[in-house]
């Protein structure tokens, strides 16, 4: 089991380099990665920029806790979470999650678990800028339900 790589930064990340970081162990038969991006429309309004605010210190602590929970559920080797903060433009990358494991089912499940929990537990907030002005993104019930489902034995 490798040390967790958990980073909160303003700079963009390079997916091939992050893949290399978690794909180097021949005991792993599966690597699953997820990248979240700034998309063009949210709730019907055009998005031009996204500004991510977070709670320094608590953010990293929560992410480490989420990864520890994932490691209790599945046999994982490498785990990387990179979340950007500050202002990002349309199409830019926001978040990277990568996991490696001996088998694909654990890697797929852990990656989905990590993004579901990150979205509902980690103290990040999105401010969207559109031609109509800036507004704070509302939390979605569907995200909360996705995280809850992992505790209800649905997965």
């Amino acid at each position: 089991m490798q040390a967790d790589r958990i980073i909160v930064q303003s700079e963009d990340f390079h997916v091939p380099a992050e893949y290399q970081q978690i794909a180097g162990d021949n005991g792993d038969g599966a690597v699953v990665t997820f990248v979240g991006k700034v998309r063009d429309f949210n709730d019907g309004s055009a998005v031009t920029d996204l500004t991510l605010e977070h709670y320094p210190g608590m953010t990293e602590a929560v992410l480490h806790k989420i990864v520890a929970e994932a490691r209790e559920r599945w046999p994982l080797n490498f785990v990387t979470i990179i979340h950007r903060v500050g202002t990002m433009h349309l199409g830019e990358q926001i978040v990277f999650i990568g996991v490696s494991s001996a088998h694909r089912k654990a890697a797929f499940a852990a990656c989905e678990f990590l993004i579901d929990f990150l979205k509902t537990k980690a103290p990040f907030w999105k401010l969207e800028a559109s031609p109509d002005g800036a507004h704070w993104v509302e939390a979605r019930d569907s995200d909360e339900q996705a995280a809850q489902a992992w505790n209800n034995g649905d997965s």
Partner: protein, 82 residues
């Protein structure tokens, strides 16, 4: 003193990111919230939101959780990262 932090929309609406509050007569997160809401109408309106969340020393907490001198207590809306 209790170090109180505000984030996102709560910070923006209150117009401040942090304040220090004397811990006298404040025993729980709910009491701290009520104390802050008593500042003026605007603070009352922002802090009365039923979606408001609280973290004590960087851990998500319940409103009845204890707070004491030297704690860091943060108020913020539901999170929206990822």
């Amino acid at each position: 003193m209790i170090n109180v932090l505000f984030f996102a929309q709560v910070r923006e609406l209150l117009g401040t990111a942090s304040i220090q509050v004397a811990a006298d007569n404040i025993a729980t997160a709910a009491e701290l919230r009520a104390h802050l809401a008593g500042q003026n109408d605007k603070w009352a309106q922002v802090l009365d939101s039923d979606k408001l969340l609280v973290a004590i020393n960087q851990t998500m907490s319940q409103w009845q959780a204890a707070v004491s001198d030297g704690d860091e207590v943060a108020f913020f809306p539901p999170v929206t990262g990822g």
